[in-house]
Symmetry: C2
Subunit: 292 residues, 2 copies
């Protein structure tokens, strides 16, 4: 199986899991619809895939933790809905479709985000196979990296930094927190839930932090060099909003070098897994060369 087929089969497993998990409608219907609208709008599902791949790399069977991996996608989706709000980035298009608040209104978009974020922890807590102690360690990592020591902190600094002169320290904090933290957490969680010891979990953490940063830098480069069709959103929107990004501070060429360096660091970090690391190695290279 090549990487494309591997990623596609994993993506479909996540999609199917999410579809079944939210098959039963709940009240009020508009909340149910708005949550499903954004959750099932497509996307690469890269975070849950990384969680599954980490778990498998540590010797686990991925069907054991589909719930926990999918919970990470609920958190990612909520963050997109809230980031797109008029009071935040005010984006109208996401994955080629109108953003949640454009369809359901601002109040319902806030609540759809709140609902997905809260329900992520309900979904994460569902397991007959993984011990409570491992699940709790996973929740601790997830909530730290999705919250004040990760994503929420990164988005907050992103918002207050708009229009200010960029500096390297700030852009690094934003990217590490806003994007890399949840990607890193996805990998750590895969390791933790497998029961792997700290040497392996530490390797996954370092890998995750590095590919997380490479992923965001590549995203920012694509915002400049990609097409609206490829991106599913208008290109050049970071520049329009005066966002602090790597290309804005270092230029596109130097940013490419930084991303490449991160990918090398990531690949070195997981040498401990020897030949079992092959999917993680291929994913690291793919994140650098993707065009959407």
């Amino acid at each position: 199986m090549n990487l494309k087929a591997y990623l596609e089969s994993r993506r479909i497993e996540i999609e199917n899991f999410l579809e079944v998990y939210y098959r039963e409608p709940f009240e009020p219907a508009i909340l149910y619809e708005s949550m499903r609208y954004s959750l099932l709008a497509g996307g690469k599902r890269i975070r849950p895939i990384l969680c599954l791949t980490a778990y498998e790399t540590c010797g686990g069977k991925i069907s054991d933790i589909l719930a926990q991996a999918s919970a990470i996608e609920l958190i990612h989706t909520y963050s997109l809905i809230h980031d797109d709000l008029p009071a935040m980035d005010d984006d109208k298009l996401r994955r080629g479709k109108p953003t949640n608040h454009v369809i359901y209104g601002e109040a319902m978009a806030i609540l759809a985000g709140d609902g997905l974020l809260t329900d992520a922890f309900r979904l994460f807590s569902k397991s007959d196979l993984i011990s409570g102690d491992l699940l709790i360690r996973g929740i601790n990592i997830l909530s730290a990296n999705a919250g004040i020591y990760g994503m929420v902190a990164g988005q907050a600094l992103d918002i207050v930094s708009e229009g200010k002169d960029g500096d390297k320290e700030t852009v690094e904090f934003i990217h590490q927190s806003k994007t890399a933290a949840l990607i890193k957490a996805s990998l750590i969680i895969g390791g933790i839930l497998s029961g792997a010891d700290s040497r392996y979990v530490g390797a996954l953490s370092e890998y995750g932090e590095n590919i997380g940063l490479a992923f965001q830098v590549t995203d920012d480069i694509l915002d400049i060099t990609g097409t609206t069709e490829e991106l599913g959103k208008p290109k050049g929107s970071d520049d329009k909003k005066n966002k602090m990004t790597y290309p804005a501070i270092y230029g596109v060429e130097k940013s490419r070098l930084i991303a490449g360096e991160c990918v090398n660091n990531a690949k070195n970090a997981i040498s401990v897994f020897e030949e079992k690391a092959h999917w993680l190695l291929e994913i690291a290279d793919y994140l650098l060369t993707r065009t959407k």
Copy 2:
């Protein structure tokens, strides 16, 4: 000790715990400040107190679960911040102080809420004393009742019902979900974390559902009969927003009777605890007669 002194001593323990938990600043400072601003703005802390009292009624020592009880207050606080947003209830005053978005702006208020909600699960997962299995059961209950099977669903129906003709079924769903669910969860969690069996947890659940409803009906009555000074927010705001409330549908007198009936049901539900139920019995009566 009388009830007033009991509630006050518990309230202070929660306040102190929260103060210490968020003593260490994190970045960016504005996120830290906006989260603390709302979290430490006072309030009755009734949800964590109920959690502690349930735990104690089941034979536990309250210092064991201060983190988990306080986590519920983080969730309650986030819900107030988001409910007050311009896109939601658009409230400018809360507990006698300007609401979060009035001070920190809409974007930061959304993020402060997201931060508190996420961090509630980090705080809940911190324990050296309670087993992972019990913590996971607690998180499952908390996330269901704070989310799509509780608070978020109730707020969503509340928002879409504004200005519509009230009906009894809708107002019951809103109150059960928006307020009673988290209060019920606070009691169930106290029971679960103590390791009590399902007979006791079931009794706490029924008690919680009933006092939760009584609490919200009394709130709505106070919105009509109280003073702005007592309430810490303008009186009559439900009516102004055309909110679906018990007094709006049944009138004040009939609503008082309904609240009284709920309190009686609550008190009957916990007979299984015999004389150990005394604080829960007193709290039920207090919730009915409070003036703020």
